[in-house]
Symmetry: C2
Subunit: 135 residues, 2 copies
DNA sequence: GATATTGTGGACATATTAAGTCTGTAATTA
DNA sequence: TAATTACAGACTTAATATGTCCACAATATC
């Protein structure tokens, strides 16, 4: 019941782009260096962010990645879903009973979790970052 | 970001014991049959529930498992923690910054999730089970 | 247009964790 | 004593996450 490393890379990449250069292209090499992860692996994660429409990529010299217009309103949940998909925590409930009380209880709690992540936006976090805060 | 099958087996076993025979010993064979899982595997899960103090086991003929006194107040979170441990969803945040905003936001949302699970007790669910409801 | 630079795609390999099995042992009852 | 039942640990298998490699496409600069 943990978020994957890939999701963490994605979230930190988004926040890094937001804080440092939301309107300029940044190459994967630089992004990877900041997070001590291989560029080839991070590029796969970035491609998912591109496909889900929250990051723009440009090939070629001086290319790289930047955030879309309106990135401030992207939520943490948006990013998590882009990387992890949308399966519920109780998806592996095994009795195939649509009225399973356990499944319902877990889903109810999960919705509390998802709602809060959906209300936390990249813009909020970017505003909280001071010069001394690491991302 | 899903609960393990083992956790689901544990939750359903607890609820089954609560609804059918909270004060009588039930063997692992019967419990396993109900959930279409092998007895040997389920016994490992049951041992965890015993060690964490929510189930009582008795060896020997006519032995088996039963719930402790006061089982009504056992929460779903208690069971989940007994099987999955207590690592946080953001445990694999990789920048080792104690002030990481992403980690804090995830933990805040996670606490909403945990709080709700902590307030849902086996007794509540057992009361909701009608004759027609499968567990 | 040639070349260097950068992202994309897919196959592949490795690592980690979850799921499940097997076998022997200990405890209890009839 | 014999049957029954839980416990423990080593082991295997399956599933998933993580990471690499390489060929290719797109773009900018010269």
């Amino acid at each position: 019941m943990k978020l994957s490393k890939a999701t963490n890379y994605a979230l930190h990449t988004m926040l890094f782009l937001a804080v440092t250069s939301p309107h300029e292209h940044v190459g994967v090499a630089k992004l990877a260096e900041k997070q001590h992860v291989s560029p080839t692996y991070l590029s796969k994660i970035l491609t998912k962010l591109v496909k889900s429409g929250m990051v723009i990529s440009v090939s070629g010299a001086n290319g790289g990645y930047k955030l879309i217009q309106g990135w401030e309103k992207i939520s943490l949940l948006d990013v998590i879903k882009a990387i992890e998909g949308l399966s519920s925590m109780s998806d592996n409930c095994l009795n195939h009973n649509p009225n399973c009380l356990i499944q319902k209880a877990i889903e109810s709690a999960e919705n509390k979790f998802l709602n809060e992540l959906n209300q936390t936006h990249m813009g909020d976090l970017a505003n909280q970052i001071g010069e001394t805060s690491l991302i």
